[in-house]
Amino acid sequence: MTARIGVVTFPGSLDDRDARRAVQLAGAEPVALWHRDKDLRQVDAVVLPGGFSYGDYLRAGAIARFSPVMETVIAGARDGLPVLGICNGFQVLCESHLLPGALTRNDHLHFVCRDQRLRIENATTAWTSSYRPDQEIVIPLKNGEGGYVADERTLDMLEAEGRVVARYLELNPNGSRRDIAGVTNEAGNVVGLMPHPEHAVESLTGPGLDGLGFFTSVLKRLVNA
């Protein structure tokens, strides 16, 4: 049986096609999900892709979290459904309170697009088990509001519980606290990541293949389940 991985399209989603391509290259079946549809079409996992959902004129992700599809995604995530939020998807997960913290305007106030080195700090989540602990990877990063912030107690808690999934190396591209690039929930099924693994799944069009692991991780978990 092939795992079915849903990719949500909000109005203003941009990397939804890329996420579906990545799912396919990882060996799973990509399923397009529509923001107005509560029905998740029996998918085994969900990706919230990058972009500017609903234009993000208010605050990134603030409107998307109230969309019909998110009602089901939020409920599913609480029951263990693997959910990966990339960039705007990470913002939506924070707005939905599935993940702690928030994403703010980059400290240098510019949009930034670069190949970013990361260290995988937690290789046990639903989306990172294909990586070795402390593995260094390079995947594209592109955001205007990617500065991860949370209060000190939350940050300490995330560190203590091993919930920092990935950290920026060499250069902190957006002013994120403690160089945090991605975090997970307590159960490890929900992961939010600011850089874009779906843009590093073909050597022809990305900096390498380092992003594929996020998608093979969840596949492995689903097949073994």
């Binding site: 941009l14 004129y57 949009f111 670069r114 594209p140």
Partner: protein, 767 residues
Amino acid sequence: MTTDAGTASERVSTTIDTVKRAVDTPGLAQPWAELGLKRDEYDRIREILGRRPTGAELAMYSVMWSEHCSYKSSKVHLRQFGEKAPPSDALLVGIGENAGVVDVGQGYAVTFKVESHNHPSYVEPYQGAATGVGGIVRDILAMGARPVAVMDPLRFGAADHPDTRRVLPGVVAGVGGYGNCLGLPNIGGEVVFDPCYQGNPLVNALCVGVMRHEDIHLAKASGVGNKVILYGARTGGDGIGGVSVLASETFADPSAAGTRPAKRPAVQVGDPFQEKLLIECTLEVFREKLVVGIQDLGGAGLSCATSELASAGSGGMRVELDSVPLRDATLSPEEILMSESQERMCAVVEPDKVERFLEICEKWDVLATVIGEVTDGDRLEIHWRGEQIVDVPPRTVAHEGPVYQRPYARPVWQDALQADDPAKLSRPGTPEELREAVLSLVASPNQASKSWITSQYDRYVLGNTVLAQPEDSGMIRVDEETNLGVALATDGNGRYAKLDPYTGAQLALAEAYRNVAASGATPLAVTNCLNFGSPEDPAAMWQFAEACRGLADACLALGTPVTGGNVSFYNQTGEVAIHPTPVVGVLGVIDDVTRRTPMGFTGEGDLLFLLGDTREELGGSAWSEVAHGHLGGLPPAVDLDRERLLAEVLVAGSRDGMLDAAHDLSDGGLVQALVESCLRGGLGARIVLPEGTDPFVALFSESTGRAVVAVPRSEELRFTDMCRARGLPATRIGVVDGDSLDVQGQFSIGLGELREASESTIPALLG
């Protein structure tokens, strides 16, 4: 201030300038001059209509007959692009539509075009640049294509001028803000600094789109009874008069003064989210074959869309202007017709498909309204509050505007400029002086790394970007199964064109053509954005005429037809015009994108060959600018046969796997190209300049028709045999090696020092 203005509707009803009223009041004074029309143009409108125009008709004619929309000064010169067009099987749609369409094989068609948004970007850098991107994307969309990438050739005043700090960051943020939000990768372009652009930056925007042959759509309204649907954003008061000199007060009822919103900005305000929805929605209605004809709303808004659709179609058109959804209920009919509110499209749809069309719009939360229908007459009729306010032959508005033979004359200073030979400039003589000259060249704003700017653009979205800046061309994969792809480059050199506009335009084409070939793609077709001073100045008009003639001749010689483009006149501050700046975009096709040739040196031990001939050519060169602030003499000579040969070798070398890297030689000559390829790939180079050559000329001359290539040792014989057989000079100049640029017997500069020189300039000026 009046106290008895009454309600808005009462006021309007008493002041509607209907066709009937126009007939009854032939002597009414009209503000034609304020609208930018000339006396004889106004007289011609009266002659066409057999009466005075109504206010709405006058509004339409004035914007459609503006230079921007009618090309009235440029038309006689632009004709050459058609007359001298090389025979080409690739052209599916030529000049005259929203954008040209080129066959790239496997059933795919590609459409691309570059346009200017210069003046709005000076007034309001962010929105000017943003809506420039939005406008060109809609042009591409209107042809039936999915937009797949954008590029932005930008020109600003001196890099260290305080106003550049105002304009540049705004423009870059606008390009990025709109394009990033739209989900289109930005894959290339240019950033050039020159004091001549201080009061008049050039913001050109290019978009490329892909479709299947059968999906090509045209802007025409045909089929009596078909519905005209306006969809997208509501119509507001922004951008009124963007293309003419209209003051919106002109039409206002004086009694209403003070009761209406203040005059709105002439620069439009963009909403990229709305445009993203418009793209997806439009592609879906195309997919379901619901559209007979389509036009985007850009300059001149509804005036343009309705008259062009009706003019190109077989019948007439009737529009109920009251149906147009408004942001501001107080807009007059004239203002509605002229508004340049962004993110709007106009489609012609068969009656039985209207319901489905509206459903798809609803799915994407796009507002759509039937505003009229195609009629069996030959008139464009527009109604407002039950009265007829427009009744015109649409061709006279859209396609039969005035045409001028503007006088032109070679400027008196041209001879002196060309006589000011750079040979007299003092040159670096010692190895140490050469070393310093290289470092200051590399660190100069025009040659320095632009990554501070381009890293503000998303180059990854859509997942098909094979090459992006700073590579020689941007390359996009078109088909994920077959790996068919297209490459695009834009180039222009105002300094060359100032010295000789005929040659300068050819050099712009030659460079873009060479850049495409250096990446491994075969050049197919051309688009251009011609940025010049006032057409009313005979000197600027001469530059324009010469550039058109040069470009048309070169397109014929290279076998690459012009598919469309844009003219931007009046780029001047007071009496001082910018350098004539023809920007040329070349589209190429590559059968297998995995064969593309990148520019960076990555193969340790690869052999370096210089292809082509080097002469002493320093007129308009980067060195003369950086070292002496000099502009004079003649630009490098053009040899289009050589360009063709070079391109064939570069493409064959890529296809047959003989090249690890290739980089074209242009501004800054050989040494600049070597530095860029070293820094890009992270490896150094050991260079041995050919015996008997002057090291300075060898390194800094800007002779054209040249490229540097890195050839794996295993391919050396095959490659040199090929060059010999084809008659292209290939001189072995060194090897990829180490971590410095080492010109033997002269100097050595570590990559770290070069990188510091290249990458610190722009952030220091603008960061």
